[in-house]
């Protein structure tokens, strides 16, 4: 079971950078694991903590929030707000006992297709030994 386990990752990608970065990875035909469910958001600052909890609640094995590098936000300061908020979410999730590596944040610009593939590959590698996320998952 464990070796065949394919984790399901929900990725909240900023429309202006990370989403374009993942697009670049796609059109450049870079190889990366197909475990990601990308969700385009207008800004990493628009990702409510509720989205993250809800993704785990509805069966995500890992959640990624990805936005623009500090200073590059399309809305000037959205990613700075995100940075604060996500730091709190991460600490809270660890406090209640979720594995810390299940939730990650990254800065990926529209030109960093390579970095995006790297982040996803590493994330999948980290999640595989952990097995399915059952802690916050809603019982079906």
């Amino acid at each position: 079971m464990a070796e065949n386990f394919e984790p399901k990752i929900v990725a909240f990608l900023c429309k202006w950078c990370s989403s374009a970065g993942s697009d670049l990875a796609g059109v450049s035909r870079m190889q990366y694991p197909p475990n990601v469910i990308p969700i385009q958001v207008m800004c990493s600052g628009s990702v409510s903590p509720l989205y993250i909890f809800d993704a785990f609640n509805k069966g995500a094995d890992g959640v990624l929030v990805s936005g623009c590098h500090p200073g590059d936000c399309h809305y000037i300061k959205g990613n700075f707000y995100a940075r604060r908020r996500i730091a709190l979410v991460k600490n809270l999730l660890e406090f209640i006992g979720l594995e810390p590596s299940r939730f990650q944040m990254s800065w990926v610009s529209a030109a960093e297709g390579k970095k995006y593939t790297q982040i996803i590959s590493d994330f999948v590698e980290q999640l595989k030994p952990l097995g399915p996320q059952t802690k916050l998952r809603r019982n079906q």
Binding site: N57, K77, L88, I96, G97, L98, R138
Partner: protein, 343 residues
């Protein structure tokens, strides 16, 4: 020491002069030791007001109720409301002011300093008394609570009886007030997050089993939400609003009514509810302990809020409830905010 007569005198004065609509304070309940909130309109009624270490409630919730009531009235009485506050309660008022939920003119604050100590914890008291009923609790000059119970008096050192939050209080005197009674002296707190340490020293799996055990108990009565002075949203994200989906219902309308959290008190849903509540109180919770006090299942909810309070202080140097002009925690940022967790 605070003389309760001074408080009554001031309450009487502002009521007589018509400066306030009414005064919210504490009065003795017929049934037992703990006081109940008193709403005093008549200047002659001020003798009902009391002040002692059993005044554990945070009355600022009633300011939120007052605002909602006022909004519904056609010709509201625009005078302020008088309110009795302790240190922690005054910080709740600061947060409400900071968020522009109430105006400073809406409230006349009668501040009482806890003077080095604080209020009791009713559960600790019940344990000490072993079933006896306390009639009166007073603080003596040597830092002991003197309890009058059936068959004499008992002396207990204050630290054994004080509420956990009082032992970790960052300021045991009001930070905003119109009248201040008592000394503005600060008790030294060496370890403001001591209660968290035990939790944090546990392993990941131990923490998980602790919270699973605790949050599985939750029956989702929402008492924590009702008692919290910061939970004032008209629409709460955990309330499912049923609405009819017809052929004309647009996608936008459906998207606006997402059912984020199921109503059923399943552990997974309880986790989402309590984590969302903790996040919504990040940088706002002033640790009045009401959520934990009202919880019928004794879930240690205070830990969740305290944890985020600690992180806010550690990571961003932010403390809630001290400066009404400061931007709130999640609506501000600094260039040097930590980002070592981001790839």
């Amino acid at each position: 020491m605070i003389n309760v007569e001074d408080l009554r005198k001031e309450a009487k004065r502002i009521l007589k002069e018509g400066k306030v609509k009414y005064v919210i304070g504490y009065e003795r309940d017929q049934n037992g030791l703990l006081p109940k909130p008193a709403f005093i309109k008549d200047p002659d009624d001020v003798d009902r007001m009391i002040w002692d270490p059993t005044c554990i409630h945070n009355l600022t919730k009633f300011l939120v109720d007052e605002k909602k009531r006022k909004a519904a009235e056609k010709k509201p009485d625009e005078r302020p409301v008088g309110i009795v506050v302790k240190g922690c309660d005054s910080r709740a008022i600061v947060v409400l002011l900071q968020e522009k939920y109430i105006d400073r003119e809406d409230v006349h604050i009668l501040g009482l300093s806890c003077e080095n100590y604080g209020v009791i914890d009713e559960k600790k008291l019940a344990k000490k008394l072993k079933g006896k009923k306390a009639e009166k609790i007073e603080l003596d000059d040597h830092g002991n609570f003197v309890i009058t119970a059936a068959g004499g008096t008992i002396k207990i050192p204050a630290d054994e009886l004080l509420a956990e939050r009082c032992l970790e209080c960052p300021a045991n005197f009001p930070v905003v007030y119109d009248l201040l009674l008592g000394d503005k002296k600060k008790k030294k707190v060496d370890e403001p997050f001591k209660s968290l340490e035990k939790m944090e020293s546990l392993s990941e799996n131990e923490r998980w089993s602790f919270w699973t055990e605790q949050l599985s108990k939750c029956i989702r009565c929402y008492a924590c939400r009702s008692a919290c002075p910061m939970c004032y949203c008209d629409e709460c994200v955990v309330d499912t609003i049923n609405f009819a989906v017809t052929a004309d219902t647009t996608a936008t309308e459906k998207a606006g009514k997402i059912k984020w959290v199921e109503k059923s008190p399943a552990p997974s849903e309880n986790f989402v509810y309590h984590m969302v509540r903790a996040m919504h109180l990040a940088g706002r919770c002033i640790d009045c302990g009401e959520c934990e006090r009202v919880c019928p299942l004794d879930i240690p909810l205070r830990f969740l809020n305290k944890k985020l309070e600690k992180e806010a202080k550690k990571l961003f140097g932010y403390m809630a409830g001290f400066d009404p002009d400061e931007p709130s925690l999640v609506s501000s940022f600094k260039d040097e905010d930590p980002e070592d967790f981001i790839r």
